[in-house]
């Protein structure tokens, strides 16, 4: 009963938050003005703000949230571990490294898309290294180890780039970029991220059946006809494409992929396949809400989305651990 209204409820929540995200901003237009400008406006200031600033920002929030939620749920299902998150396989770290290198070398300033492109290349290199390191058989342990190694290496190289930077301005720009944000994005960012994310979402959405079977372990799943190598490839490539693209346009945003599947799991009867789309919607709702919050809490100080997410996400996660511990006792 509660499950029947659960998915429509999530869709409604995303729609409401999307509308709110369109209506909130420093320009402070009236409700009627905003909607009129969005739908039928003729090039005045309100139309420009609505169509070129707020709309892409809200769309990006949905896209980034779907990517993080979906890949978090897929990774938790694949690794059969509720602590897994997209950052675990090193994709976001490597995408950040690509962006940092672009910012530090000045490549980012060459053309508008240089920064996200560099981040995507970073994510791509990471995926190839991880698949190479994790070996040909479909095991999950080697994947985790490879991911940790790549994450550590990407983190170290990011620090090195900052450490050796001759330009303090570039350092601060890099640090702010790494905090993660959706402000000052345009449709150009939407269009560069969307193809990668769409491919990633498609790959991840095909993993549901395999993830369900993996509930019984790798041996049983394989004996039920699941191709574990194909499953792993779909999970890794899907995560890399969607989270790589998300990091490329929004910087590193943590906790969404970790916390959202964790919160929603009880509502889908713990089924890893059903959790995929629930987490996609939940992730979209969470990023939209957080992006609204950064505009409301400190409107003048450009509070970064990633910072707010970590500040809210960490205690939330502690609460979840506490609840899990009580359930186990």
């Amino acid at each position: 009963m509660t499950r029947r209204i659960f998915m429509p409820g999530l869709v409604a929540l995303v729609l409401v938050l999307f509308a709110l995200s369109l209506l909130i901003g420093p320009a402070g237009f009236g409700l009627g003005d905003s909607l009129r400008a969005l739908i039928g406006g003729q090039g005045d200031a309100v139309t420009l703000v609505m169509r070129e600033i707020r709309l892409p920002r809200a769309i990006l929030a949905v896209m980034v949230g779907v990517s993080l939620g979906l890949s978090g749920a897929a990774l938790q299902g694949y690794l059969r571990n509720p602590l897994a998150e997209p950052g675990l396989i090193g994709v976001s770290g490597s995408a950040a490294l690509g962006a940092v290198i672009a910012l530090q070398t000045g490549f980012a300033a060459l053309f508008a898309l240089a920064l996200p492109l560099a981040a995507l290349i970073g994510a791509l290199i990471a995926v190839m290294l991880i698949l190479l390191l994790a070996g040909p058989r479909g095991g999950s342990i080697t994947l985790i180890l490879a991911g940790i190694a790549i994450s550590a290496l990407a983190g170290a190289l990011t620090s090195l780039a900052l450490n050796l930077s001759p330009n303090p301005f570039a350092v601060s720009e890099t640090v702010f970029w790494m905090l993660g944000s959706l402000s000052d994005r345009s449709f150009v960012h939407v269009w560069i991220a969307l193809p990668f994310m769409a491919v990633g979402w498609l790959l991840l959405s095909l993993t549901g059946r395999g993830l369900e079977a993996l509930t019984l372990g790798e041996d049983a799943a394989q004996a039920m006809g699941i191709d574990l190598r194909l499953l792993r490839l779909s999970v890794v490539l899907g995560t890399a494409a969607s989270v790589g693209a998300a990091t490329a346009v929004a910087g590193a945003i943590g906790f969404v992929g970790l916390v959202v599947p964790h919160i929603l799991r009880p509502f889908v009867g713990a089924r890893p396949g059903r959790l995929l789309w629930a987490s996609a919607l939940g992730g979209a709702a969470m990023v939209l809400a957080a992006d609204i919050a950064v505009r409301l809490v400190l409107p003048d100080r450009d509070l970064k989305l990633g910072v707010l997410m970590a500040i809210v996400g960490a205690p939330l996660f502690l609460h979840l651990i506490y609840k899990t511990r009580r359930a186990m006792a």
Partner: protein
């Protein structure tokens, strides 16, 4: 009709053969007990037969496509893994995965198979409970039910009754016999030789990777075999409903 045939199956771990040129066939209507001491190669034999391990030789199951194999043989691994707190009914329904393509809703036949499997394992009333909240023995029964729901001509089960209470151990083996009476077969590794002697139609004895005896329980569980393979002596008697077997002492 043969449900499984292995010819000279060999599995190497580094340079050491864990299963050494094992050959066997399983026909319809058998409950075959795979027995042998720890490390004899029972699990490895079963996994290789399913094509879950690289091996040399021939296995009729491993030659099939994964999808066909999943309809020809159901596998219950020794590790009783249940990763998420899913409902018992949901877990048993996973046995229908080979019959459902991605996103397809289970039909009436699937629900029937699940209901039957749940009833057969005495789990009626447990359907809505989270599988991870059950006791170890109950979880084992849920996993056996999942294997039954897969509805295959052959079931391969790796120590399915370890950790079950005596009533459920006997009930499970009786169930395997009634499955065999329907023309299906079960290949099951067991450590309880008394239950194996009484409930299996045939025993296969493994020692150091080799199959050393294969036949009806009485000719397999000879004093010589027990001494050479297990290092034990046993009391054996013909009861009214089959062999009564009680291990007595360590002989080494």
């Amino acid at each position: 009709m043969t449900l499984l045939s292995l010819e000279n199956l060999t599995v190497m771990r580094r340079s050491c053969p864990v299963v050494d040129t094992a050959s066997l066939t399983i026909d319809k209507g058998e409950v075959v007990g795979l027995i042998g001491p720890n490390g004899a190669g029972k699990t490895t034999l079963l996994r290789a037969a399913l094509g879950l391990l690289p091996f040399k030789g021939i296995s009729s199951l491993a030659r099939m496509t994964p999808r066909d194999r999943a309809k020809a043989a159901a596998w219950m691994p020794q590790a009783r893994e249940i990763a998420w707190p899913v409902a018992v009914e949901t877990l048993v329904m996973l046995g229908r995965v080979p019959y459902l393509s991605g996103g397809q809703k289970p039909g009436e036949a699937d629900h029937d198979a699940v209901r039957r499997a749940i009833a057969d394992m005495g789990l009626t009333g447990f359907e809505e409970r989270a599988a991870t909240d059950l006791s170890g023995g109950e979880q084992a029964r849920v996993l056996i039910a999942r294997t039954l729901a897969q509805d295959c001509p052959l079931i391969l089960a790796d120590e399915p009754i370890a950790g079950l209470d005596p009533g459920h151990q006997i009930a499970t083996l009786n169930l395997f016999r009634s499955i065999a009476a329907q023309g299906k077969s079960v290949l099951v590794s067991l450590h309880d030789l008394g239950l194996a002697a009484r409930h299996c139609t045939r025993l296969i004895l493994m020692h150091q990777g080799r199959i050393v005896a294969d036949g009806a329980p009485a000719p397999v569980l000879t004093p010589d075999n027990l001494h050479d393979v297990f290092g034990i002596s046993a009391h054996v008697q013909d009861g009214p409903d089959g062999m009564i077997f009680q291990p007595l002492e360590v002989m080494r």
